[in-house]
Symmetry: C2
Subunit: 325 residues, 2 copies
């Protein structure tokens, strides 16, 4: 069977607002360095007013993955909610200009397009304060046979569970996928997100997911494990393909009793680790939709993640795998 | 006399939309590489629709200089016209977060905030397609004793002449400045801009300007000269302080029969030449408002320009001169 769309993303459509901050600024936020905290509109105005000059670029975890997948040459589509404001226009432009089919119209009213205030500290780590705005309006009604279609795979992100109808619309997307022979992939987003929705994620992984992409911390929170060996033993009991990233330790693919270990490439100069997991997912799923062996999928993922941490920004560039060898 | 504001900028308030493009894309534009072309709203929509994913950041030539000046520790204010849209909010935020006093309210209606589509070609050069939008609404009525105040210097950019009331409002600003003992500085923007407004610039330099910052090409178009020696001879006849930048050849300061030559620092790795002239102006004027000798003003300018071409982006960072030696 051939698919006109290989990968559909369903996620929070977010524009990143990036600025360098010092330690006192981070202390005043009170958020753990490297974490993602959800904030409301008033908090968003407050933090923006206190931030220095910023740069704006399209972001969002699974949106980054879909953009990366498109840049690798994959055909893709996207479901996420922006408003019909300038930032929404920027988000959709940046996706559409990569050939990604945008499935929803911008909301004509309501909250503004989502923004993540990305606070880059002196050591290069990023602390995110995210105002979900228009994303909160993504609803069950947006997930239909028409908007989902029948891609080879769809990819949801854990952050979707942070919006009111998120768990229900994820379930609905999975049901449509099941009817159409579409594989369901889930990216676990971050370990705090897994803590917030552990039971629901456990249920979704057990009953709906075919593929899960996550880092080791997220897997440990999901499973209650504290060693990679214990995690692998538990993952093997699911009928799910897991790709677990481990930073400089590489990644582990687990599918039942099949385990593939992939070492990380040695990187001398890490510029910016943002988007490493998203880029890994792009490469891994690019291999998967092209029916490549798991070892090769893992190599693609590692290659993309290695590249993205040596550049500023979370989205990998066009044709990255063209020179893959 | 002490001044609560040392430097007031009057210029086009623009948000840059930066994207990498290939040669066929540039060919399809038909604009000379490295040039700045003014486009209308339809052309702006067209070029944006054809551009790849972009990054947005506040720009504008003299706005970059004012931001740089503020980052050096100078007190500054700004007159420029944005709309009350998201990009206008971004522009004003990025200025205000540096302590710059914004003198005009955003326009509640009319054209959107200006955008410059900055097309970065494979060799790192930048071709700009600029939609002036809300800037076109900057008017004589915006230039008053209240909005101008009595800074130590005001800085106009040549691009202001591209808007309908630009020449008149520049003249009015210069008159207010004269009454208040404020020095009038002019940045010539680019050589195409000088071609567009040569006679008016000649008149302004002759009758209104105390300081002119320009690169050698702009000076040659203004004076009709073709060697630096010929230009210096002609500049010496004006009662104006000229700072002429010459890329890797350094800069020349001319004030009547005083000439100061400043060599450029050797730079191994030029990352991005955007904003070199704007940064030079920031450093030079920072020295000037602090009554430093011209040799030192030129050194500050060179230092700032040298730093800005070794980073991505046109605005120099906070406290740059703190480590000046």
């Amino acid at each position: 069977m051939t698919y006109s769309v290989q990968l559909l993303g369903i996620s929070n459509a977010i524009v990143d607002v990036l600025a360098h901050v010092d330690q006192p600024f981070l202390d005043s936020i009170g958020a753990p360095i490297g974490s993602m905290t959800l904030i409301d509109e008033d908090q968003a105005h407050d933090i923006y007013a206190r931030m220095g000059p910023a740069t704006e670029m399209s972001g969002g975890s699974v949106a980054n993955t879909i953009a990366g997948f498109a840049n690798l040459g994959g055909s893709s589509a996207y479901i996420g909610k922006v408003r019909d404001d300038q930032l929404g226009g920027i988000f959709n432009h940046d996706m559409e200009s990569l050939g990604i089919n945008i499935r929803l119209d911008p909301a004509p009213g309501g909250a503004a397009t989502a923004r993540s205030h990305v606070l880059i500290s002196e050591d290069g780590q990023r602390t995110m304060q995210t105002y979900l705005g228009a994303c909160l309006g993504l609803s069950l009604a947006d997930i239909t046979g028409t908007t989902v279609g029948s891609p080879k795979a769809l990819l949801l992100e854990g952050y979707v569970w942070d919006i009111e109808e998120g768990p229900a619309l994820a379930k609905k997307a999975a049901e449509i996928a099941r009817q159409n022979g579409t594989a369901v992939a889930l990216s676990l987003s971050d370990s705090y997100c897994v803590e917030r929705h552990r039971d629901s994620f456990e249920n979704f992984v057990q009953n709906d997911a075919d593929i899960v992409v996550a880092d080791e911390d997220e897997i440990h929170v999901l499973l209650g494990t504290d060693s990679i060996e214990a995690a692998i033993a538990k993952l093997a009991a699911y009928d799910v393909l897991f790709a677990v990233t481990r930073s400089e330790k590489g990644s582990v693919i687990v599918h039942g009793d099949v385990t593939v270990e992939q070492v990380a490439a040695k990187v001398e100069d890490i510029i910016d680790t943002t988007g490493a997991g998203d880029a890994y997912a792009a490469g891994f799923l690019y291999g998967w939709v092209h029916d490549r062996p798991l070892t090769e999928c893992a190599q693609y993922g590692t290659y993309c993640a290695t590249k993205v941490i040596q550049q500023v920004g979370a989205r990998i560039e066009k044709g990255l795998l063209d020179d893959f060898s």
